[in-house]
Structure formats: structure tokens, C-alpha cells
Symmetry: C2
Subunit: 186 residues, 2 copies
DNA sequence: TCGACTTTAGCACCTAGTATTATATGCACA
DNA sequence: TGTGCATATAATACTAGGTGCTAAAGTCGA
């Protein structure tokens, strides 16, 4: 009996901490109706760090997260790249990229993936987007893995014409044409 | 002499905390070569909270920040909206929105601002982007305030034709045409 | 009813502070 | 030359939210 209750309690504890990471041992003790000492023992067994360590961890990781979120998440992961020719990138659609109501991915994530992949292809120190022409073919939902393939189709002076086709599960969901312009050092 | 050094030191302190928020009073005291008590007095005068309060604040706000960053920052601030007609939004270009080399804003931020503004105009429960046609006219740099004005120019069935013009300091930097499609409940 | 597990209690100690009071140092001006 | 004032340091008592350890009490199954 006691053994079952212990395991159950430890599960509850784990959940409580995950949901509300800012609870002290005392508050946890009240919530689970045991003594503070029991909470401490349980934390020890479960390897849950103390309140202050938890907040510190969150503060540290969250700090980095905010910095890197735009660089990595928004643009996807570069899978293959032939500079000046073609490239492939992968973007996983997560919960926070979709509309709350429809669960459909916001359009600018596909645009961002395609645009940054297109820019990565250009074999020049600097380049900016001049024109973009995009078409959304099929709505994309949470969990889908978007594979974008980009190809430079023409180069005229400092202008690069790049086509990007994005597929999810072998179905084309998005298509873009970019005209990118390479710049001299300022 | 002492008075000047105090002000200087307090400036250094403020900077040190901003750069490395996880330093204890003792570490700060060593860094600035004064006693721990002096650091405490300075913190009191400057209104800098203690280490644990700082980390707690960061942990709390950062937790929310990670969630809202894409919803708010990426798309800008809605200044005015006439549903079904027109709208205006503002996006401030910050350090992390630009290319490290050229200091020019990445194209998808302008796209995101325009796209989300266009979607906000649509007077329907759900809508997605069908086609986008965008043109980048002038490179945008850190600190610029982008004002996007969107207007629905035509409606045909469930298709909305929206034009967005983005200006920075009264100069048009970006222009987009969207065809948005409103959806029925699934 | 015994032994093992579980729970609670108590105490010393730790870190990173707050709040307050006292003392020392320096410099400026009469 | 001393006196006054700002600044800096020190000392002490107290706090929250713990760790680590030992001891005692409760519970339960065989």
C-alpha cells in the first residue's frame, strides 16, 4: 500500500514541478499533503534539483534560446548545399508555428525557409532579396517535415534567379521564385 | 575624486550585471575591487535586485518570451486595423534581425510583417496565404522603424487581394501583393 | 510479532542575500 | 589645523530555501 502510494506521489511530484517550476519544497509538501522532508527525499530519488537551481537553469537556457530561435528554427536545417548551384533544407513544423484556430502553419515559415536557403546558395560575400514570387499549394500542419529544394536557374550580372520547391511527404506544398542581388562590400 | 569614482563604478556595475546577470555580489566586488558591502549599497541605489530575484525574473519572462516571440516580434505591432479594409503595423529592426556581415535586415522579416498584417485584415474565421508577390526596394538596417500599410483591393469569392506597402522614414522599402484564401471550418 | 520499508523530525550547515549600526578613510573648506 | 561631510568598509543579526545526516516513529506484510 505504502509502496504504491510512494510511486504515485513521486509521479505527482514530477508533474507538479514540470507544470509549476517555481514551487518551494514547503509548497509542494502542502500540495501533496506530506512533510517537507518527504519532498526532499523524493526529489533526491528523482534527481529533481532544488528550486533555485531550477530557476537558474531555466534562466540560462531560455536566454540562449531567445538568441538562437530565429537563426535556427525559423529557417530550418541545411541538409545539402552546392554553392552556386543547389541546396536542400529541412524544417519541422512545431506547435508554435501554426495558427491556434486552424492548426495550419503560418505562411512566413515556408517563406523564411525558402528565402534563407536561396540566399545560402549565392556564392558571394553578401546578397539580399530583390523580388519574391511565391505560391502556397497545400496547407501544412503540425508535425510535417518540409523539404525545400532550391536551384539557381539563371545568373545575369549580380542578379540570381532561384527557384525553390518545398515538399511534405512527397507532395508539393509550396513554391517560390526569388531574384537575389549580390552586393559589393559597402 | 571619490564622487567621480563612485559614479563610474556604478556605471560599471550596471553594465556588468547587464552583461552577466548571474554574478553574485562577491564576484562583482572582486571584479570592481571594492567590498561586498559597497556593491550592496550600489545595488540599492541603482535599484538592481539581488541575484536570485534577477534569475527568477529572467526565468519567468524568458519562459513567456519563447512562446510569444514568434507571435509578436516576428510580425510587428498592430497600430491600426479596419477589418475587411486596411491596417497599419510597425516593426522595429533589431540587431538579431540582420545579417552579421552586411547589417542588412533579412528579407523574411519584412515578408512576415506584411503577410501577418494582410491576414489580420481578412474578416473570416480562418484564412491562409495562397500567393505572394513581393519586391524589396531598399535595404533596411538596424534601428529602422518599418511602417506597413495594407489594403484589400479586391475580393472574389473566398479570395482576397491585398497590397502591402512598407515604408521606413517615408521611403518605400518593400512592397507585397498577396492573394489570401479564407477557409471554412474543417 | 518481527523486520523492513517509509515517513517524519531535529539539528548543523550553506549561500546569497537584507537591514541596521558602527567605524574608518579621504577631501574640502574655513 | 581641525571640523564636517560623503564615501567606503566592517560587523552583527536575521531571512529563505535549501543540503546532509542521524534518529525516531509509523506502517505493513509474512
Amino acid at each position: 500500500m505504502a509502496r504504491v502510494r510512494k510511486k504515485e506521489r513521486q509521479e505527482l511530484l514530477r508533474e507538479a514541478v514540470r507544470e509549476k517550476p517555481f514551487l518551494t519544497d514547503f509548497e509542494l509538501a502542502e500540495k501533496l499533503e506530506v512533510s517537507v522532508q518527504t519532498i526532499r527525499l523524493d526529489r533526491l530519488e528523482l534527481g529533481i534539483p532544488e528550486l533555485r537551481a531550477r530557476t537558474r537553469q531555466m534562466a540560462e537556457t531560455a536566454q540562449e534560446k531567445v538568441k538562437t530561435i530565429r537563426q535556427d528554427d525559423v529557417v530550418g536545417e541545411l541538409l545539402d548545399l552546392e554553392l552556386g548551384t543547389s541546396g536542400i533544407s529541412l524544417l519541422r513544423i512545431t506547435e508554435d508555428m501554426v495558427f491556434a484556430k486552424s492548426h495550419i502553419a503560418k505562411g512566413y515559415y515556408m517563406f523564411s525557409q525558402a528565402n534563407s536557403l536561396a540566399l545560402a546558395l549565392i556564392d558571394a560575400p553578401m546578397a539580399v532579396t530583390g523580388v519574391a514570387n511565391v505560391k502556397y499549394k497545400v496547407p501544412v500542419h503540425v508535425g510535417e517535415k518540409l523539404i525545400a529544394r532550391a536551384e539557381i536557374v539563371r545568373v545575369r550580372g549580380n542578379k540570381y534567379f532561384v527557384w525553390v520547391k518545398t515538399r511534405s511527404d512527397n507532395r508539393e506544398v509550396f513554391r517560390a521564385k526569388f531574384i537575389l542581388v549580390s552586393l559589393e562590400e559597402e
